[in-house]
Symmetry: C2
Subunit: 160 residues, 2 copies
């Protein structure tokens, strides 16, 4: 079956590819793409280890890259696809960016922004639409495999 290259399914697939790239580099596997008028204008994956920087989540890097591409700070005409529910930091950044629509795959019950939703709404900008669960199983599996390997490294060695 061919995947429509302009479908949410396709774009989340691109984010999943980036998450796999993160895993290959020893990073918690999370990938993100920013789409504007059916075009991917930014791609990023979690680089907190490589950049030695807690702020280097996939979403943060994608926001910065997308703004560079657009020459403007606001992403109200854009969608962000990310393989894991954004944390509080990333949700705060997406709020400042006035993101048009957020698609996330796997939920993050411990660190996800949506546990902080209140009667006043979520941490996101009030105009941001939210769609969750798209290709969630693949994203979750990637994360589980990654953390499984950390606990039981195939070489029999240990990680510090």
């Amino acid at each position: 079956m061919q995947v429509d290259p302009f479908s949410p399914d396709y774009f989340m697939g691109e984010a999943l590819k980036l998450a796999r790239q993160a895993a290959g580099a020893g990073e918690v596997p999370v990938g993100a793409v920013v789409v504007c008028r059916n075009r991917i204008i930014a791609r990023a994956w979690n680089q907190t280890e490589q950049l030695n920087d807690v702020t280097a989540h996939a979403e943060m890097l994608a926001i910065t890259a997308a703004a560079n591409h657009l020459g403007g700070k606001y992403l109200s005409q854009c969608e962000l696809y990310v393989t894991l529910e954004p944390c509080v930091m990333c949700a705060g950044a997406l709020a400042w960016a006035q993101l048009g629509k957020l698609y996330y795959a796997a939920a993050d019950e411990k660190r996800g922004f949506s546990r902080l939703a209140s009667a006043k709404g979520t941490l996101l900008h009030p105009k941001t639409q939210i769609m969750s669960g798209l290709r969630a199983e693949e994203a979750r599996q990637l994360l589980q495999e990654f953390f499984g390997r950390l606990r039981n490294p195939p070489s029999g060695g240990t990680y510090v």
Copy 2:
């Protein structure tokens, strides 16, 4: 009266200098320094306009710079001094960084992280100590002057 160069008052004064630098560059005047064992290891000011990036708050840039200096991601042995109460994004980043102690000057009733405190605690790391109000009047005045000028530019022109 001489200011003790190892006092919170002194370090907040340094953050205020950076906030003035931001104002001079047309940025919302917020400055931040990271202190580790009585030494300033990172200085930053808000650069969202210059960098065209909503993530370029003073605190975010200071966290990244401090981690670069230390060669490690965590700031549990550090203090961050910032002239305005951190927003949700910055609080989320400070939580990931496991900041030791946060000093902020002026409160931000609209965007500040503390309005989202719950029975479970604030958005910060549970071990982060918080001290607010230090030199708050100076920080607030800087912000008021900045926004006052935006509304009533001295040239009589208008800002878009």
